[in-house]
Amino acid sequence: MNMISEYLSYPFIQRALLASVMVGILCPFVGNFVVLRRMSFFSDAISHSAFAGIAVGALFGIDLSLSSVIVAILIALIIAFLSERTTLSHDTVIGIAFSGAIASGMLVIGMLKGYRADLFTFLFGDILAITNNDLLLILIVSVLTVTALLAFLKPFLQITFNRDLARVEGINVRFFEYMLFLIIAIVITISLKIIGIVLVTSLLIVPAASAKNLASSMSRLFMLSSVFGIISGVAGLAASIYLNTSSGPTIVLVSIGIFSLTMFKRGNGH
């Protein structure tokens, strides 16, 4: 008990805890749409596109969070545009954008001189290195994103259920789909510092998939996914401190553990 209160007295632990709770709510909330609309590959492509943004930011001395957000949004829009305007399948377009972004990122990283430790923070994430400014940014994005998604949840869910029916009901499907792509891109990039490029998609997908295994309604899906997200974040952070392991992978492994339990429960239920 003493050890817990001692750890909680450290400001960097307090910031990490707050960040894990906020991202634990935010990522699965958006992740529900990623899972329901089968956009896992898209979100993976966006997170890896951020790598190119970070590389460009490092080369030109721009803030890495800002450059990663800009490039991620750009790639999301390119994917949406090409999917709409070409006869290529969605996953082919994503694959092309994905590999293009990675190749560009690697090329630019090769041009950098010297060792850049901050790049590794984005690659693998470090929740304990979160600053007050990062925390404020996560808070603002969380509030805006969750508010926007809740306000537009009816059209988002109608489009997710069936695009044609949504269009007949007068919903501007294209507008809301672009909006969702932008939200996913922003949420992924602000979560990078916590969980890293390599694993950020799992924080979107795994709690949402666990909740989908158990939920009998949409309201329960949103509630359960956030609960699983918070548990994964907080328990993962605590375990990583206790076991002295990397925080990002530990958080993801806790969420995978929850997913395995829900699979067992689902298997029993069917």
Partner: protein, 250 residues
């Protein structure tokens, strides 16, 4: 008053006409059936009317107003031929209906008392009260169809478009479904356009028939319009003989 008027509608894909110069009108309060062989362009016509696919030329007028996609103002309810959705989607019947009720931009999990009563009434109308808290993905074909009708009429449309609504449903389910459509037409004054492959259904339920084979082949009352010659010209000799025997049995 005409519920819908379609003028010279043409839809092209890969430089080939899917439908060509289709012109017709349907009076308000009628049930009109669209028939035609596979590949005749029935679903294409419906999708063009709904603005789901672009048309090359022509116009659609709905209750006296030129209709463009997005300005239906809930005048149209639509039930597609094959509803494609993720069966594992954890969406209940009541949630599906609730999400369709305006205002569109409001917190979706908070239901007003009036909305709950409206959903109950709708489900009673379509005979699906017991399905209210069931997941959409767990419904049978017939149950899903009734729920989709409830969704289509949730905002009180004046025109209901059904694309082969009874396909994949057993005989009893089909009867029940067509009775429901007839009841909605009589009680709520809904104009109904339905695509059907079953000519018996057309004879029994439709006030008007539109026969399509890329072009409009015939239009009018089924008993006057669907002559042996017309049916043979649209469906071929075999179908002509089949319909002739159906007529005799009726």
């Amino acid at each position: 008053m005409h519920a819908i008027s379609v003028e010279n509608l043409c839809v092209k894909a890969d430089n080939r006409h899917l439908i060509e110069n289709i012109t017709f009108s349907i009076e308000e309060g009628r049930i009109a059936a669209i028939i035609g062989p596979n590949g005749a362009g029935k679903t294409t016509l419906i999708k063009a009317i709904l603005g789901l696919i672009p048309y090359e030329t022509g116009s659609v007028t709905l209750f006296g107003h030129l209709f463009k996609h997005g300005n239906s103002h809930n005048k149209i309810g639509y039930v597609p031929q094959r509803l494609e959705f993720d069966r594992t989607f954890p969406l209940t019947v009541s949630e599906l209906l609730h999400f369709t009720i305006p205002p569109r931009y409001s917190f979706p999990f908070h239901r007003k008392k009036g909305e709950e009563a409206h959903i109950d009434r709708l489900l009673k109308t379509v005979g699906a009260q017991e399905l209210k808290e069931r997941r959409i993905g767990s419904l049978s074909g017939g149950e899903l169809q009734r729920v989709m009708i409830a969704k289509a009429i949730v905002n009180g449309p004046r025109l209901l478009i059904l694309d082969e609504p009874a396909s994949g449903v057993d005989i009893e389910g089909q009867e029940r479904f067509h009775d429901l459509v007839r009841r909605l037409n009589k009680d709520k004054g809904l104009t109904v356009i339905l695509i059907s492959h079953d000519l018996n259904v057309v004879y029994r339920f439709a006030d008007d028939v539109l026969c399509i084979n890329r072009r409009l082949v015939c239009t009018g009352r089924p008993e006057e319009t669907l002559t042996d010659d017309v049916i043979k010209s649209v469906y071929g000799e075999m179908m002509g003989a089949y319909i002739h025997s159906c007529h005799e049995h009726d």
